[in-house]
């Protein structure tokens, strides 16, 4: 079962949920797709042994062959090429790697060369697979790394895979969630949390993936989240209470399920609840 953990906004406890779930489930791999700020390794402390570069193909233009006709500049939709003074200037950071410039060049002057935009590191924690991607500082395109991470999931033999998604609802979240069997939506009991949860719900609905909600820092305000979930027919699977000891453990970089048996058992039961959720939704579809 592939479980994606997401949240409408940052700072709700998404990584806490994802890492603890990966820790307590039997045979679960952890994949950190929050490539702009991967934090899961701080908690799972994996031994990382393989490092792979992720690159996208960008144009390299032969000055001998190029006649500066401007055809590639006209076709490039990303403003990654410009023509000035009989010269083509490249802006590789804006390039999406579509390859169109090499296709359209009448002089065959454009060759594609790889440009590194980040890395993927693989390792193990508790005998399970750990995978995360790191986008190089200043790079705008996270999606190619996420796609590579997600495509690597097929090779993982673990029974479960927990994906830690980027926050928000942009295209990088969609790339991370794409092949998941189910989603966990992490939220907080505040109007900001509720607002952003609604956006996450809209996202998983549009992708037709069954989901359950986890309320982090639950307090007496949790009612408003629960009322919303009832109205939307989405189950609240777990409430992590607001407690100083949990916050303190977190700030020390400890796993919140580590010395907390109640919480550990609740996380374990999440696996069963999610399986039920998937079965239920496949009955209807």
């Amino acid at each position: 079962m592939i479980i994606s953990v997401l949240s409408g906004k940052g700072g709700t406890g998404k990584t806490t949920v994802a890492t603890n779930l990966a820790r307590v489930l039997d045979s679960a791999a952890y994949v950190d797709c929050d490539v702009e700020e991967p934090n899961g390794f701080l908690f799972l402390k994996p031994a990382l042994d393989v490092r792979e570069r992720v690159s996208i193909p960008v144009p390299s233009i032969s000055e001998e062959k190029c006649t500066a006709c401007g055809t590639c500049v006209e076709w490039c939709q990303f403003n990654a090429l410009a023509a000035v003074n009989n010269k083509v200037i490249k802006f590789p950071q804006l390039c999406h790697g579509c390859g169109l410039c090499s296709l359209v060049c009448p002089e065959k002057a454009v060759r594609e060369v790889p440009r590194e935009i980040g890395i993927i590191e693989t390792g193990t924690f508790n005998h399970s697979v750990f995978l995360h991607g790191i986008l190089n500082t200043g790079e705008p395109l996270a999606v190619p790394i996420i796609k590579r991470l997600v495509s690597g999931i097929n090779k993982i033999t673990a029974q479960h895979v927990v994906i830690d998604c980027p926050p928000g609802s942009s295209c990088s979240v969609i790339a991370a969630v794409e092949n998941s069997d189910c989603c966990l939506l992490v939220t907080e009991p505040t109007p900001f949390g509720l607002h952003d949860l609604a956006i996450a719900v809209e996202l998983i609905r549009s992708m037709n993936i069954p989901a359950g909600v986890i309320i982090n820092k639950a307090d007496k305000q949790s009612r408003m989240i629960k009322d919303y979930c009832t109205a939307q027919d989405i189950p609240v699977l777990l409430e992590i209470p607001f407690s100083k000891s949990i916050a303190a453990a977190y700030s020390r970089g400890e796993m919140i399920t580590e010395n907390n048996e109640v919480l550990e058992n609740s996380f374990k039961s999440l696996g069963i609840q999610l399986e039920a959720l998937i079965n239920e939704s496949s009955c209807y579809s």
Binding site: G8, K9, G10, G11, W75, Q77, F78, H96, G97, C98, G99, L100, L103, V104, G168, S169, S170, C171, V173, I174, T190, P191, F192, H195, D196, I199, E202, L203, S206, Q221
Partner: protein, 293 residues
């Protein structure tokens, strides 16, 4: 007209709460929510929508099925796996136009796609310009520019425009602050808070915009707050307010009102004091653009 942007280096420093309170204090003024990817200001304002306008935030390929002869060249050329069964998946299409080029039947073209809406609303405090993005859509400097334009086009010359800026220092932030008379940076006394403050100050220097700083939750770490004050002094950025940690802020968010409307709120009182300093000192209305000479 005068414009001030409320910004922060990182998220979660209380930018939106401070912004909502300043909007209330400013009275009949114009406010723009330029935190377009995670807009929350509307949760703290009472407002009624006046109009919505489509926002064209991306380009995608559109196929004319009558012309398509299913040769499959487009599927082969697409590097984003966006075409399946001769249908273009809008969420995957990056609008590169490779399929447009390759199609022998000219059945595909690139079209601007609606990825959200810009909205103009009337709030108790004046006009409110904001935006709503669709699922899977990204914000951009273009959207921020449009939200600000909707605000300035509908503001009178004497109005003050208050902008809730994006966190960070990238494209959207630059689009939020250019042309402002001043920016108010909401900082917090943490290590990352100090670090991020420096980067926002660099940005303000670059654009020749007056930088004002308020330290939120300063009493959570008074030592660090002092350090930030000294740092601001060195950087010639004026600290205009120190807001204490106050549980009323959380309560006010839950009630959907600005914290200054909570009776006896310590944070509210500090924000009021800051507002007096800003207005009496004329910090928001003088033109402090560095001119070119």
């Amino acid at each position: 007209m005068n414009q001030v942007a409320i910004v922060s280096g990182k998220g979660g420093t209380g930018k939106t709460s401070v912004c909502a309170s300043l909007v209330e204090l400013a009275g009949n003024k114009v406010v723009a929510d330029c935190d377009v990817e995670a807009p929350n200001l509307h949760l703290l304002l009472n407002f009624k929508e006046l109009w919505r306008r489509d926002y064209y935030g991306s380009k995608t390929a559109v196929m004319n099925r009558d012309k398509c002869r299913q040769c499959g060249k487009c599927i082969d050329v697409c590097r984003f796996q966006a075409i399946k069964n001769f249908t273009i998946n809008e969420l995957k299409c990056e609008g590169c136009a490779a399929c447009v080029y390759i199609c022998p039947e000219q059945a595909i073209r690139i079209e601007d796609t609606v990825t959200g809406e810009t909205v103009l609303s009337k709030s108790g405090a004046g006009l409110f310009s904001h935006a709503r993005l669709k699922i899977g859509a990204d914000g951009s400097g273009k959207l921020v520019t449009e939200v600000r334009k909707n605000a300035s086009d509908n503001a009178a010359e004497e109005d003050l425009i208050i902008i809730d800026g994006s966190p960070g220092i990238a494209c959207v932030v630059i689009a939020s602050i250019t042309g402002c008379n001043a920016i108010l940076i909401v900082s917090e006394p943490t290590l990352s808070g100090e670090h991020d403050l420096g980067r926002v100050l660099d940005l303000a220097d670059h654009f020749g915009i007056r930088a004002l700083v308020c330290i939120n939750k300063y009493d959570l770490n008074p030592e660090m707050a002092c350090k930030i004050e000294r740092y601001c002094k060195n950087r010639k950025a004026e600290v205009v307010g120190k807001i204490p940690f106050d549980r009323d802020v959380g309560t006010s968010i839950s009630r959907g009102i600005p914290v200054i409307n909570m009776p006896e709120s310590k944070a509210g009182a500090a924000i009021r004091e800051m507002w007096e300093l800003l207005t009496k000192g004329g910090l928001l209305n003088e033109n402090c653009h560095s001119n070119g000479r």
